[in-house]
């Protein structure tokens, strides 16, 4: 009994990647997969708060959203959507490559995913700085400059639309949603880098590829949230 090593898997011994309290790699893989899915469930509900705030204000004050959407750059949003979809493809491909022991292909796919993630953040950065520059910030600090209003709205819209009260609420929600999503992208970048290192080092194989798949699942949920954010924020009207 003083012997702490457990001896259920005598035949064949323990593979090095198998943690002591699991009885088989399959059990470890299934546990990890269920775990990451439960985490994704919490992510969905975490974002649900922001979607709820969005829905409540959009439903009750559609005029704010109609007016505010002119300030968003649909092209940038669309490019970012495509970039994220591409990254989803490449990371799914990376999982396939690891499962088939194609180590170099896997690293390549992960690197492309990483580049896409970086591109997304760069575009986001451009959008954000532009907004700050025009004074289009959240809540109390919201103070769009007159030129900004004219520049964006143009003559036509500027005259037709009356500026609604509490316009800042849209930008509060916009920054909360894209900001929280951006934080998730940043976290994803960190994890993907770690996965590139581990894959290149040869940690993974057709026997053991859980972590890459878990990362991919996380990355897909980041993409999934953006799939909803894009029409909700950029494609109003």
């Amino acid at each position: 009994m003083s012997n702490n090593h457990h001896n259920e898997n005598d035949h064949g011994g323990h593979p090095s990647f198998l943690a002591h309290h699991f009885s088989s790699p399959q059990q470890q893989y299934d546990a990890g997969k269920l775990g990451i899915w439960l985490f994704l469930v919490t992510e969905v509900l975490f974002f649900s708060g922001l979607f709820c705030a969005y829905a409540v204000y959009r439903f009750n004050h559609p005029e704010i959203f109609r007016y505010a959407h002119f300030f968003l750059d649909t092209t940038m949003g669309a490019i970012n959507t495509v970039v994220l979809i591409l990254s989803s493809l490449t990371i799914a491909w990376a999982v396939r490559a690891v499962q088939l022991n194609q180590r170099r292909l896997a690293v390549g796919m992960l690197v492309v995913t990483l580049l896409c993630a970086a591109a997304f953040m760069v575009i986001k950065y451009i959008e954000y700085t532009h907004k700050f520059h025009m004074g289009l910030t959240w809540g109390e600090s919201f103070a769009p400059s007159a030129e900004a209003l004219r520049e964006v709205l143009g003559e036509a819209h500027g005259e037709v639309l009356e500026k609604p009260a509490n316009l800042h609420l849209f930008f509060s929600i916009y920054f909360c949603m894209t900001g929280l999503h951006g934080i998730h992208v940043l976290a994803g970048i960190g994890v993907i880098i770690w996965m590139i290192v581990r894959t290149a080092r040869g940690d993974f194989s057709s026997e053991y590829f859980g972590p890459v798949e878990y990362t991919a699942l996380y990355w897909h949920i980041v993409d999934l949230v953006w799939i909803f954010l894009f029409p909700l924020l950029y494609l109003i009207d």
Binding site: M1, T42, W138, L169
Partner: protein, 543 residues
């Protein structure tokens, strides 16, 4: 029988603070939540003493407001929510399954440190002057009050939320994936069904608390206006956010307590539990129905009539599974061999206090009556009957039940039973008068009150002092038992769940070979052995 166990297998502070063993993590949680209970209790005592007479006794209104806020926040977030799942759940869940550990031991340790981080944030806000928003953080008070400690308290809530989520995730995966051969769903002890239901709520509800806390921090720091009416926001929307988590959280508190009581009653009656499947499924039903009723906290808050009516109807549905449990516990005792040991006393105490707590919920679910009772002492009494009278009493029951297993020592039974009785009396003395106070119109969170309420407040304060002394005695004899207690037998109560099939305290590995997976409530094969001071199987199986 081995001489090394999980307590003695390794030494040094590192072997504790960096441990991945679920039992040690459970013990660390136990220490932590008991300290929080003591801290929260001190705040409560201060509040009760201040209310002994109308007017100012020894603190000003702001200090009083901080006291009740901290009492609520510490008790809810640091004590009740993690108490049973994180401390006892961690300790017994894998052993009850016959597994070696939870699915993710590192995540388990991480969630303990997240708890610690949350506690530190609370301490920071305490040292920074405390918070006086009420534990509910209703806007716009919480976003406009001058107290800057609100942000650190909210950070604490956010971090504690993630601690709770990770614990829940870990338990769900453990129950799904780590059951050894032969341990089927319906051979799981009812405590595990309750923990499973709790974990579902933790995973599905707590993220909303996270985002609520985050939005509130952003609201306070950057004034985004989502909840602030001065900026076009909606304070009632905040209440929806808050109660979407905080009502299910009530079931995070009570479900595991019900699970413990199922164990206590079965072991104390030495009989197979009555209606196993009904109790098991009622846990899951409570977990799911608990999500549908949050609006009953908002009947007078400006919520629309339509929403209130729907929420009231849904609220009554939760009463059914709770009632089912109570009836099944009583039926379990029928033709049993009831032993009034300390855990069983706590079990019986739970049934009566939960009876009152649950039944008074009917007054509050009934819309027209709730209008009068809402935000009065009636509510205070009701939720203390559920949270303290039920959850904390079940926690104490669990503590006395598993104490011999956790530390291998027996406490003084006679003293423990006396304390159990005094907890019961002190508790009722504190909170029964509050039902009357509330119905007579005494609002909650009042620093001062009209003189006609004084007598009932005084009864309540006397009860609180009595409770405080009793808990002090309880902790004293428990600590004393660690040093001087008799060694505990393997199975002191004659229960048949798996944790009683390994030594007390359990070995590091729990089981070298998983125990035979039998009906966890079949006590017929166990006999009392005077020499052991506990129970053993009828035929000794030599291994």
């Amino acid at each position: 029988m081995s001489t090394t166990n999980y307590l003695t297998c390794s030494k040094g502070w590192k072997s504790w603070f960096l441990t991945l063993d679920h039992k040690r993590i459970g013990v660390m949680y136990l220490t932590a939540v008991l300290s929080s209970f003591a801290l929260g209790g001190l705040f409560a005592l201060a509040v009760r003493l201040e209310l002994f007479q109308p007017g100012q006794q020894f603190m000003d209104p702001t200090t009083y407001n901080r006291m009740f806020t901290l009492h609520g926040a510490v008790m809810v977030f640091l004590f009740i929510i993690p108490s049973i799942p994180a401390a006892f759940g961690n300790f017994v869940l894998p052993i009850m399954l016959g597994a070696q550990d939870v699915a993710f031991p590192r995540l388990n340790l991480a969630s303990f440190y997240l708890w610690m981080a949350g506690a530190v944030f609370f301490l920071v806000s305490l040292l920074g002057g405390g918070i006086e928003t009420g534990w509910t953080f209703y806007t716009p008070y919480s976003t406009t009050t001058a107290d800057s400690s609100v942000v650190s308290a909210l950070m604490g809530v956010f971090v504690l939320g993630f601690s709770s989520i990770f614990t829940g995730m870990n338990f769900i995966v453990t129950i799904h994936q780590m059951r050894p051969k032969g341990m089927t769903w319906f051979k799981m002890p009812l405590f595990l069904w309750a923990i499973y239901g709790t974990a579902l709520i933790q995973v599905l509800a707590t993220p909303v608390l996270g985002i609520t806390g985050l939005l509130l921090i952003v609201e306070r720091v950057a004034h985004i206006g989502v909840f602030d009416p001065a900026l076009g926001g909606d304070p009632v929307l905040f209440q929806h956010f808050f109660w979407f988590y905080s009502h299910p959280a009530v079931y995070i508190m009570i479900l595991p307590a019900m699970g413990i009581v199922s164990e206590l009653i079965a072991a104390g009656s030495r009989k197979e539990i009555f209606g196993y499947r009904f109790i098991a499924f009622s846990s899951i039903a409570i977990a799911i129905l608990g999500f549908l009723v949050w609006g009953h906290h908002m009947f007078t808050s400006g919520q629309s009539v339509a929403a209130s009516v729907v929420f009231s109807a849904l609220t009554f549905t939760v009463a059914i599974p709770s009632a089912i449990k109570v009836f099944n516990w009583l039926s379990t005792m029928y033709k049993g061999a009831i032993v009034l040991n300390t855990p069983m006393c706590y079990g019986l105490s739970f049934i009566s206090l939960f009876g009152i707590g649950g039944l008074t919920g009917l007054f509050l679910g009934t819309l027209s009556v709730d209008i009068h009772l809402h935000d009065t002492y009636f509510i205070v009494a009701h939720f203390h009957y559920v949270m303290m009278g039920s959850t904390a009493v079940a926690f104490m029951g669990g503590l006395h039940y598993w104490w011999p297993k956790m530390f291998g020592k027996m406490y003084n039974e006679a003293l423990a039973r006396v304390c159990c009785l005094f907890v019961f009396i002190g508790f009722n003395l504190t909170f029964l008068p509050q039902f009357v106070l509330g119905t007579r119109g005494m609002p909650r969170r009042y620093f001062d009150y009209p003189e006609r309420f004084q007598f009932l407040h005084q009864l309540s304060t006397i009860g609180a002092v009595m409770l405080f002394i009793t808990f002090f005695v309880m902790f004293s004899y428990l600590l004393h038992s660690l040093v001087r207690g008799k060694p505990a037998p393997m199975n002191p109560w004659g229960a048949n769940t798996n944790e009683w099939k390994c030594s007390s305290p359990p070995p590091f590995n729990n089981f070298d070979v998983p125990p035979p997976m039998e009906n966890p409530y079949d006590h017929t094969n166990l006999v009392f052995d005077e020499k052991l001071g506990g129970y053993r199987a009828k035929q000794v199986i030599n291994s």
